[in-house]
């Protein structure tokens, strides 16, 4: 009885073992993957490799330049070689991973008859009007006319001329190396009109990681004060100052001004600004207000430049802006202030914004605030019996006013504020002093990304004889002159670095020149690409790091769209189509931001993996323990049965 019993038991044992092994196999092969699949978070696939490829993207910016040679501009045998194309390529030294190469593709050709005719005219203005009608050039492209060495089109001491449209004139030369010399001159002019390092550097400074970036361009954006002060002294016109001085300035600034910890910039009555508005006035036939300096009596043409304007004033990338003009009247008992803001906006601001339409949407509004005071008590200066605001107190001026403005609540767009402050009777006249204690000529200052403030003193003669309140009519030309110049700076329309001996035409009625707009578009496109790339990279990093973020299909499609748009923008830039490149870069920014800020990314962030495991413990523990125990037992027995035969041997 023992033998068959033992045999039966052995059979049972083997069967039990097999069953246990089978259970383990089913659980591991079928159960675990099933559970994993059903409880997993949904993650749509993302183009990770493409995104990491974007990081080391090489941008080629192509500027198509048409160089037109008139007769007698170059030696005859050289003219025989026309037309041909020369490419001038140059890498812009940026200390980022992003590499930018700038290509000037110069297409040389002979002048057509009507061009020849126009350039033989007596003055440059006439030639320009002749060119103006037919040639509507694409954004980003330039035309340079080379005229004969002795042409009377330009004043004798001038070598080149830059016009308000995408047109320039360069004097030719009769020389064996004529093409080389002229080529260099053309490049100088073209650089001034399209791409310069500082514009790109300033555009990128805020968006790319600061690895080895030389501090020069970067610093004014961050609060490093010593640097800025040094820069100020190096400036001719754009005099900039920070509100505090010394090393402790930054912390002090932060402590006292929680919202506004910015830099204050002054704007002097630059010779550049006067023609800006004077040409506006001329254009509208509204001359009586015009009040220029002697040097600007010829409206339109000026030859003086500032090598560098504050680059820190660039406002960040947005789809739109709201521009708010506020009249602050802290003392309505003494002043009854009226301003014709609607007319002024229609006349001066709207043409400028229309020209900038490509950059974004703008909405303009205005308000009058009473009893809105500045946060700082002005000091009395007995020498001139006037009051003044010292430069170091200016950062504290904005905060108390800011709370009254309230415009940011009504708009989705970032707001640029322009404040006209009519000081109360007890504190007038009020002047703003710069760092050196000298009054600022415009009596105005601006702060990057916030806006500008101008102090408007009431004419003291108005108080004579009339009883309070005095009726004050604001001279809008004077005010808009300053606000428009500030607006230009806030949008980062810096003045160009011009080659020596260059004649320069002021902007026409729009207040902005076509090639300035191009420069802005170049800078903005590069900036947009940098922003989109950074956003996509950090999104990819974040998603890689945190594994239980849900990635929905629409987020994934936004990411794909952004990547495609970045690539398209880069291609368009390389082929010189600025307008479509800008559109694509904007799409890249919006898509990447939309993906990054999609609320669905946050849904399961508070349901981490360890909690998921904890919930399934009642299933796992009772299932795993017998399986593991029996596997362990089987393992022991197998090892024992392996060892036995060895002993026999």
């Amino acid at each position: 009885m023992a033998a068959p019993g033992a045999a039966a038991t052995d059979l049972e044992v083997v069967r039990g073992k097999r069953a246990a092994l089978f259970f383990a196999a089913v659980v591991i092969v079928l159960g675990l993957p099933l559970w994993w699949k059903t409880t997993e978070t949904y993650r749509a696939p993302l183009p990770y490799s493409q995104i990491s490829g974007l990081n080391s993207l090489q941008l080629r910016l192509m500027v198509p330049v048409t160089v037109v040679f008139t007769q007698e501009s170059v030696p005859l045998d050289d003219q025989e070689k026309l037309p041909f194309t020369v490419v001038h390529e140059r890498e812009i030294p940026l200390k980022y991973k992003l590499k930018i190469k700038c290509r000037f593709q110069k297409a040389y050709r002979r002048a057509l008859d009507h061009e020849e005719e126009a350039l033989s005219l007596g003055s440059i203005q006439e030639a320009e009007t002749m060119f103006a009608e037919p040639s509507e050039q694409a954004e980003g492209s330039l035309t340079v006319y080379v005229i004969s060495e002795h042409s009377s089109l330009l004043p004798q001491d001038m070598m080149s001329y830059i016009g308000p449209k995408r047109m320039a004139v360069v004097r030719g030369i009769m020389h064996r190396e004529a093409f080389n010399i002229i080529g260099r001159r053309v490049i100088q002019v073209a650089q001034a009109m399209s791409l310069t390092e500082d514009v790109l550097a300033a555009a990128l400074a805020d968006h790319l990681p600061e690895d080895k970036w030389s501090s020069d361009k970067r610093r004014p954006l961050k609060s490093s004060l010593g640097r800025v002060t040094r820069l100020c002294h190096g400036k001719g016109e754009g005099n900039e100052l920070c509100g505090d001085s010394g090393a402790g300035g930054e912390s002090a600034c932060k402590r006292f001004t929680p919202f506004f910890c910015g830099f204050i910039f002054f704007l002097k009555h630059s010779v550049f600004l006067i023609p800006l508005l004077s040409s506006l006035c001329v254009h509208d036939g509204n001359q009586p207000h015009f009040r220029g300096e002697p040097s600007s009596t010829q409206p339109g043409v000026q030859a003086a430049f500032d090598p560098q304007m504050p680059l820190a004033s660039l406002t960040p990338v947005f789809i739109g802006y709201e521009i708010t003009f506020s009249l602050l009247n802290p003392d309505p008992k003494s002043h009854d202030v009226h301003w014709d803001i609607e007319g002024a906006v229609r006349r001066y601001v709207q043409p400028f914004l229309n020209a900038l339409r490509a950059v974004g949407n703008f909405s303009v509004d205005s308000q009058i605030l009473y009893y809105a005071v500045l946060g700082v008590n002005p000091r009395f200066d007995p020498a001139s019996s006037s009051y003044y605001l010292a430069a170091h107190s200016l950062p504290h001026v904005i905060n108390p006013v800011e709370s009254r403005l309230g415009s940011s609540a009504a708009s989705l767009y970032p707001v640029l504020n322009f404040l006209l402050y009519v000081p109360e009777l007890a504190h007038s006249p009020l002047y703003i002093q710069d760092k050196d204690g000298a009054p600022v000529a415009t009596n105005a200052f601006h702060s990057p990304r916030w806006g500008g403030i101008m102090v408007y003193n009431v004419d003291p003669k108005a108080y004579n004889g009339s009883e309070l309140p005095v009726r004050v009519k604001v001279d809008m030309v004077r005010v808009m002159e300053v606000f428009l110049a500030q607006l230009r700076l806030l949008f980062g329309i810096a003045q160009p670095q011009l080659p020596p001996k260059c004649l320069f035409s002021g902007p026409k009625s729009e207040g902005i020149m076509s090639w300035e707009l191009d420069r802005l578009l170049w800078a903005r496109s590069v900036e947009n690409l940098a922003t989109a790339t950074t956003t996509l990279t950090s999104l990819a990093q974040l998603l890689g790091k945190i594994s239980n973020i849900v990635i929905k299909d629409d987020v994934a499609s936004e990411v794909y769209r952004a990547v495609a748009a970045v690539q398209k923008a880069a291609e368009e830039l390389a082929s010189g189509h600025l307008a479509s490149a800008f559109v694509a870069s904007q799409e890249a920014v919006t898509s990447s931001e939309r993906a990054f800020f999609d609320p669905s990314l946050l849904h399961l962030l508070y349901f981490p993996d360890d909690q998921k495991f904890a919930i399934y413990i009642p299933l796992f523990l009772p299932m795993a323990v017998p399986i593991l125990l029996s596997l362990f037992k089987i393992f022991l027995e197998t090892r024992k049965s392996w060892k036995k035969p060895e002993k026999i041997d």
Partner: protein
């Protein structure tokens, strides 16, 4: 939609021909006034009104497109100083001059009643209504509790109420006045004394009753000049008796009834206390979609009889899209109570749609009553632009009635709430059941079964053998 009728009526009333025709109103004109009403209980009510008007380029279009009409309501909001600050910012003089210096948050929010409003509407500039001005009217009403803050004393002054006094008018205001209601005390100067004595008084019919006000015009230099500031004082010569305040001709109540978490009933009681005049009332009710109304249960009874509304507009709700809209024109018989009731079923929400504190309940917005209430005294036709602001808030359509809009109290309805830990519980329970089944299966399939030879002993066996021996039976 018919609720707009009184509104447009109101607009039309203000337009009356000839009002705007003669004089062009100044741009950005501001009028401000403060009405102080001593209540018989000794409490004091203060109502601020600020009205700004400015011209706009907007052209008035013919008629109103009703598809653009929107009605929204937030049934309840906790009121605090954060509500006052943006409200004050809308005032041209902020809180620096004029009546607005009295708006001090820590006093205004320590009152027993607080009501704050902003009305904005277009008004016509001329009789033809070709151009439009915008009117922004801000009102703030507070009732100061006499006994709590006055430490038993019932005398009042501006300084005691607001801890400020009036020093100067707002330079932007074309009118800046303080009115003190002295109607019940003007006959005999024995009960109440107002100091400084008013220079002028104003009499008018407000809310159907004749009222007398003492007027202090801040633009009148004589008012402030005496002591450089105006600190109005009310002194009770004889302590006010606890007489009941007069009941208004129209008031309403609203409540939820029913038990359980399935069905319920919304009831609105409309009171007409006028002894002999019946008048119609427009009742507008918006009910959120998660209370599913049974319209067939709508009953309106007054004086025990069914009261058929002369007009009903009902727009059913769509889940998560729009609430129920119920609008009725009901005739209220003289000295009666009318009960409007409708039954509803509570819907279940999705579990993510519940508020963070679902057991607190969900708010149901108040119903709105609009009515032309008959007045006690015939009102004289007045020039609306000349009369004080508080009067134009309840404009009389003709001499015999005035317009009133009432809001009932918001309701708090509790909805059935699920057990929010349910998903976790379900998972746990399922896992346990699966694990138990799995355990027995596993045992059954993997254990080896073998026959055990019965062993010698065992306590039971020995006990049995002991008994067997005692019985003389052979042991097992």
């Amino acid at each position: 939609m018919a609720a707009t009728a009184p509104l447009s009526l109101l607009v039309l009333l203000l337009l009356g021909p000839g009002v705007w025709g003669q004089t062009e109103p100044p741009r950005d004109s501001l009028r401000e006034e403060l009405v102080i009403t001593p209540l018989p209980s000794g409490d004091v009510a203060a109502t601020f009104q600020f009205r700004t008007r400015w011209d706009s380029e907007l052209q008035r279009e013919e008629g109103t497109d009703h598809s653009f009409l929107r009605y929204a309501v937030l049934p309840r909001e906790v009121v605090c100083t954060e509500n006052l600050t943006p409200w004050k910012k809308l005032l041209p003089c902020s809180s620096k001059a004029g009546l607005s210096v009295l708006l001090k948050a820590d006093r205004l929010f320590h009152t027993s009643y607080h009501s704050q409003a902003v009305h904005i509407r277009p008004v016509c500039r001329d009789a033809r209504c070709a151009s439009i001005s915008w009117e922004l009217r801000q009102t703030l009403s507070v009732v100061f509790d006499a006994f709590v803050t006055g430490q038993g004393k019932q005398d009042w002054s501006l300084f005691r109420m607001f801890s400020r006094t009036l020093t100067e008018p707002c330079p932007l205001a074309s009118e800046s006045r303080v009115y003190v209601d002295v109607t019940n005390y003007s006959q005999d100067n024995e009960t109440l004394e107002v100091y400084p004595p008013p220079l002028t008084t104003y009499q008018d019919v407000v809310l159907g009753t004749r009222k007398t006000y003492a007027v202090y015009d801040l633009l009148d230099t004589a008012v402030i000049n005496n002591s450089r500031s105006l600190n109005l004082q009310l002194k009770w010569k004889r302590p006010p008796g606890n007489e009941a305040p007069p009941t208004p001709f129209l008031y309403a109540q609203r409540y939820v009834s029913g038990y359980g978490l399935h069905n319920g009933e919304l009831s609105t009681l409309l009171y007409n206390t006028h002894p002999y005049r019946a008048f119609p009332v427009l009742l507008l009710d918006t009910v959120p979609w998660y209370l599913r109304l049974y319209v067939h249960t709508l009953t309106i009874t007054s004086k025990g009889k069914e009261n058929k509304p002369s007009y009903i507009h009902y727009q059913p709700a769509q889940d998560r899209m729009q609430p129920h809209l119920l609008e009725m024109l009901i005739q209220l018989p003289a000295s009666s109570v009318t009960k409007v009731s409708i039954q509803f079923e509570r819907a279940l929400l999705k579990w993510t749609e519940y508020t963070p504190d679902p057991n607190h309940g969900f708010y149901v917005s108040p119903s709105v009553l609009s009515a032309l209430v008959p007045s006690e005294v015939a009102a004289q036709p007045v020039d609306w632009e000349e009369s004080p602001l508080f009067n134009t808030l309840f404009p009389a359509s003709d001499s015999s009635s005035y317009f009133v809009r009432l809001y009932t109290e918001p309701l708090l309805v509790s909805l059935p709430t699920p057990d929010f830990s349910m998903p976790y519980n379900v998972i746990c329970l399922t896992c346990t059941v699966v694990a138990v089944c799995y355990g027995s299966f596993y045992n059954l399939l993997t254990r080896t079964f073998q026959i055990e030879e019965p062993s010698k002993g065992g306590l039971a066996r020995r006990l049995a053998n002991l008994i067997r021996r005692a019985r003389g039976v052979p042991p097992l």
